[in-house]
Point group: C2
Chain length 576, copies 2
């Protein structure tokens, strides 16, 4: 029982050895992460189309639950940019932004996402996330970053806007060019410029004036807080609200409330696909961060337990006024760099945010939304990285096609279409390649027992014998391809008596392929040609035993290709 408990509640593992030093490290990390998370949580709520407090709530109970169930020591769970954007796209389909129904649908989405993650974790289906290939993820993150940044321009310009793809977003902004609110624009541009400078220029400057690297780092992380404070003061002092600057306004001064998602079947049906995509994308983002950070300290992450941890976090979000969450890259790295040793750092962060939710919310009444938009833009533009296109192009055109399609479709049709198309294109290209396998005709390398491609090497062959090496498992999609290839080849070889299939790279023969082989054998037999196999692997041979094909085989199964070569034409043996 205690072993099971430790497995499903990793807190029992790290909790036992928890001491004073870990406590102090975790506390320091929590303070830094809390300062970073306050503006970020508000901003991501804005991106998701939700009231600002939803961002804070989504960071409190979910973090606590992840601390109980998760396996990563440094992962910081909460709202992240891509998932916030996906939430806005999904919930926008079923409810009007700003209505009560919108916030409730976001809860439903978090609840469904949590349930899906839990189910995947309990049934150990974490491997499904592997079907999101690296290039597709890279393309998707880059395109999402561009989409997110452009979606925030309306807040910088102080105009209405919307749209879930780049053309719509830009088009809508274009229509509003005449209605720009210049007070908002000044604040937005100033905040964006300041934050970019904090990111690029502040740290070197602080180091130059003699600050210690650690302190310079912390000061850099606090940059967004400075922007928040400065613009909030400006908005309050100069009554910018009267000049048309959108501000955050009243935020309830309270701990996360108990909320109930809408569990009507109809809504759940509409949100199922988005919830699934959010779960998978969130899981992939989270697990990559968790594994990267764990590797630095030689710790291991259990992907299936991670699913359970993230599932619990999302269920927590659904019942406490949040929306879908996952492990974020930026916040986790900050947490790790700040010295967090255990998930307790996350729990302390949650306490810090809870205090903020209760005590600090009146202070942000005058906070301009443009400042939050600036925070988002600066954060997400660091995700944009087109170098994957060059890397993929130089390595493999198939990977390049998948990346390019993912980027273009995400920009052109939104996040859901983009990521689904990326996955389907990757799988489709893989299936296409396996359906037309590389097939080499091989001959004997003189003086050895090795057989190599006759097009790449000087080899000996025998006109009465055709040896074909298939570089792929044989399954339904390529079964007929092999049949056609062999039959076409035999047409040109008048003296042919034997066809040998060299199976060193055949890891599987499925029933369709077996039937095709049988068909091939019969057709070759009609032409007076025998079919042989060589170098069949153990697992494949185990399965062939007892089949009609093996019983009816016109030729033999040879242990090695050299056996086949020397036995089918005894004079060959002398040659070698």
């Amino acid at each position: 029982m205690p072993r099971l408990l430790r497995k499903y509640l990793p807190i029992f593992e790290w909790g036992r050895g928890y001491g004073r030093e870990a406590l102090s490290n975790d506390l320091i990390a929590a303070v830094i992460v809390t300062i970073m998370l306050i503006p970020q949580s508000l901003a991501y709520a804005l991106l998701a189309g939700l009231p600002p407090e939803a961002g804070l709530y989504a960071s409190i109970v979910p973090i606590m639950l992840y601390a109980l169930f998760g396996t990563s020591r440094a992962l910081a769970v909460g709202p992240v940019a891509v998932v916030s954007l996906m939430t806005a796209a999904a919930v926008g389909e079923v409810a009007q932004q700003g209505t009560a129904g919108y916030a409730v649908a976001a809860l439903t989405l978090a609840g469904m996402s949590g349930a899906i993650l839990l189910v995947l974790g309990i049934f150990r289906l974490g491997f499904l996330a592997n079907f999101l290939s690296h290039p597709v993820i890279a393309g998707f993150i880059t395109a999402s970053g561009l989409l997110i940044a452009s979606s925030q321009l309306k807040h910088i310009m102080g105009v209405p806007g919307g749209g879930h793809n780049l053309l719509d977003i830009i088009g809508n902004l274009f229509l509003q060019l005449g209605r720009i609110n210049y007070a908002t624009l000044v604040i937005g541009v100033a905040a964006t410029a300041f934050l970019f400078w904090v990111r690029k220029g502040l740290k070197p400057m602080l180091l130059k004036v003699g600050l210690k690297p650690r302190m310079a780092d912390i000061a850099t992380k606090a940059g967004p807080v400075a922007a928040v404070v400065a613009t909030t003061l400006a908005a309050g002092v100069f009554s910018l609200e009267g000049h048309g600057v959108a501000i955050v306004g009243t935020v309830p001064q309270a701990l996360p409330p108990f909320t109930m998602p809408d569990l009507s079947l109809d809504l759940m049906r509409q949100l199922f696909v988005p919830a699934l995509l959010i779960s998978v994308i969130g899981f992939v983002e989270s697990i990559s961060v968790a594994q990267t950070l764990a590797a630095k300290k030689r710790q291991r992450i259990d992907p299936d337990q991670e699913l359970i941890g993230l599932g619990a976090a999302n269920l927590g979000a659904a019942f406490t006024g949040g929306y879908p969450v996952t492990g974020g890259f930026a916040r986790s790295v900050v947490n790790f760099d700040a010295g967090a040793e255990t998930p307790a750092a996350g729990a302390f962060t949650a306490v810090g945010l809870a205090i903020a939710a209760v005590a600090l919310t009146p202070l942000i009444y005058f906070l301009p939304k443009a400042t939050l938009a600036a925070t988002i833009i600066v954060a997400v533009l660091s995700l944009v990285d087109f170098s994957i296109l060059r890397t993929a192009w130089s390595y493999s055109k198939a990977d390049f096609a998948a990346v390019l399609a993912t980027i273009l479709l995400t920009l052109g049709f939104g996040v859901e279409t983009g990521v689904m198309a990326g996955v389907m294109i990757s799988i489709g290209l893989f299936l296409y390649r396996t359906s037309r396998p590389h097939i080499a005709e091989v001959g004997l390398v003189p003086g050895t027992q090795h057989f190599r491609n006759i097009r790449r090497h000087m080899v000996e062959t025998d006109t009465s014998m055709l040896t074909i090496r298939i570089d792929q498992s044989l399954y339904f999609a390529n079964a007929r391809f092999l049949e056609d290839y062999v039959l076409d080849r035999t047409v040109d070889c008048p003296g042919l008596k034997h066809v040998v299939l060299m199976c060193s790279a055949v890891n599987e023969i499925d029933l369709s392929a077996l039937e095709s082989l049988e068909e091939l054998m019969h057709r070759l037999s009609d032409l007076g040609i025998k079919l042989h196999l060589s170098e069949v692997k153990g697992p494949v041979m185990d399965r062939l035993h007892g089949t009609h094909f093996l019983k009816a085989l016109t030729g033999e199964v040879f242990l090695s290709q050299y056996d086949a070569y020397s036995r089918l034409h005894p004079s060959n043996a002398a040659v070698a």
Copy 2:
């Protein structure tokens, strides 16, 4: 130009050598096939929910067009059972059976199906049909046969009914049990029994009384005509219509009319998926028959030209009052057995059917629908074959799962769901298997240079060296699996200095896998372990050249595993 013409119009190929003997053989085959097709065409139109003449029309112009464009010498194109059922399911979704809209939607379906086939043919995409695995096709045909037979019971019982899955169909019949029309039932049961007897008992009897096998065969094929004549006479003489027996009634006495499919975008959007499925299923059925028959005469079928031939046939059906058609199994075999030598036999059949459409339609006024239903039932029950379940079970559980799911889903949710699920399950299981490849730890077979699985063979190993043979291409879905496997294995090996990946079965390394290998290399390097590769294939090595991974590789790339074994630990060489 003439070469291109011969390629796209195979008639120029076989037409040149057409002589008297071929003509006489083709004419005889055409007469036999025409006799067989008259009742069958009427019956399949009934199955598709269309007026009987639609079945005749679908057999006239389409056959002519296939004769021009197709490559098979024996294939007989026209309405077939499975495609008729799929037509009923698809068109039933957009229009009410018996309305003009229903017939027009069937034309649209044929037109779209023709266009899809043409496009697939022109872009040489015939290989796509390979993704329908043999077990899935076998399961689908068996389940469709059961669905079709049960859907015809309402005509045998003389009651209304409907439904697109087995439960609905049986349930609807059950509700009508009290309203059976006994006159219809007598005709239906008698016709069914007679046709079964013709199939099983007639031929042996005729042979016994001294008829030649060829004549006995022809008589057997004419059985349905006898049933049609007898029941039509009975219905006419005894005025069975007055007793509630549904009869065919007035069939227009005319050649196929020129018809215009409804090309509205909305309808085409609704019919797109069904049209795609009908195209693919029809193509697969047709090509299997064509290849089987061609093989018997050492002829070759060009799958892409077949797509063009079937596409033209379906477009023809759309503009001449038909509905989707394809090459049928039963009729093609009859055509072949009757001695058809060229596609001209098909053209003569079309002429025969045209004569029937003009001259014979008044004669079938009294033909009971129950007789047509009996024809269908007897024809499709011969398609039902559950032995594929046993075959698949004994060979591979994955194939068994695909076949069972296809059968159950087709019976439970109809033909479209069934076949799509079958394809997706086959692909899913293939991806699942490739995502967790067989990985063997190998050692040296003493006295040889061969390396084999340490679990299956007595081999030599070296504690400072772990050699892993991956029996699968490395791609996104299994990249992380390998990484986890190797890292987990290294935990138990304290003295480990070298990990060698033996790549003889690795036919591809995609970008995701390359990144995973690089990650693995870094993690192993942190543990003081070098990563080596051996037996990398030419095409894979070509691609690795110039990558960052190869430049940063901590170990070496060895030509053979034996090289790696002897060079990494020189004392090993002495052992062998």
